[in-house]
Symmetry: C2
């Protein structure tokens, strides 16, 4: 393995460790030394890999943004084009909730993105996260569901915002209590149903 690959690995290890801690304890409560100790590595070395804590967060958010981008253009987006709106959303949630245990980082990333977008966090990360827009996509989906007569009336954008805000709330709850069971995705989709 080349030196560059090694470094890349190490960076990933730091990113994943930080992600976990940020979601578990919050950004401000997670000290650089906490991350370093968890990786593990010396405090000083952290700055060989990331120039600051803010940049580390921004990097995570960038990953999250790219992932989200990929999701809404990749094969999943194709599936959406064909599947009924309610089925698509249920499938998405099913996936995300099961990730909570199998691929915690995907789940944590989702939670972090939401947190960064909302609560007080460094501005760069904030605006990066805010630029990710799953609302328009979902609103379009909801509008289609309304045309098909399966979703209730109402402003699709507002409905989409409420839908994701609810998902966010539940995921944060799950993140803070690892024992908590996932909800039935149908409960959430029922918010939208006629």
């Amino acid at each position: 393995m080349t030196r560059k690959e090694q470094k890349e690995e190490r960076r990933k290890a730091i990113l994943m460790t930080a992600l976990t801690l940020f979601v578990e304890k919050g950004y401000y409560d997670t000290k650089i030394t906490d991350i370093a100790a968890a990786v593990p590595m010396s405090t000083g070395l952290m700055f060989h890999y990331f120039e600051s804590k803010e940049v580390l967060l921004a990097e995570l958010v960038k990953m999250g943004a790219e992932g989200t981008q990929a999701l809404s253009s990749g094969p999943a987006a194709q599936a959406m084009a064909s599947a009924p709106a309610d089925q698509y959303l249920k499938g998405f949630l099913q996936q995300m909730f099961s990730y909570a245990k199998e691929q915690p980082w995907v789940f944590n990333m989702f939670v972090l993105m939401g947190q960064v977008r909302r609560s007080g966090m460094p501005e760069e990360a904030r605006s990066l996260a805010a630029s990710v827009n799953s609302i328009d996509f979902t609103a379009a989906l909801i509008a289609r569901g309304q045309k098909d007569g399966i979703f209730r009336e109402g402003d699709p954008v507002l409905m989409a915002r409420c839908f994701w805000a609810s998902v966010q709330g539940i995921m944060e709850e799950m993140a803070m209590d690892k024992e908590m069971e996932a909800p039935d995705p149908e409960w959430l989709v029922a918010m939208l149903r006629k």
Copy 2:
């Protein structure tokens, strides 16, 4: 007005200012100087009224806890005993959402309580907020709704947690975007309906 009353007034002003800022910018991003400037008052004077930032937060959380307590034992609780479960929950949400504009502090308090309970925050406040338990109350309500055949099957406790987590998510969204319209409470109650 007596000296003591004056002091009490001033304390309340600080508490309300802090509440707003904590919800708008987050606890850690809100500096003592920000609160002082917003009240307005000198930085040093803050400590004449509250011995520390943590205590200030704890005080707010205590208020919130008492308020919640009052809610679940006061006249509202009586109403609940008689009203159908779905009607009760819808009424509660209706109230809370309309407070967002008329009595922002009630709304903000609700948001703050949820945030403190979850994300990384000083331990004293955390445990205070965690001690407030609206879950059991709601779970009982849901169980009754299930008996009456209006709510879907499922663990009432899990359903209650998901319900409040969703409400929390939506309220945080509303808190960060003051322009956002409130959802129709029915959307949320629909999570529970059969």
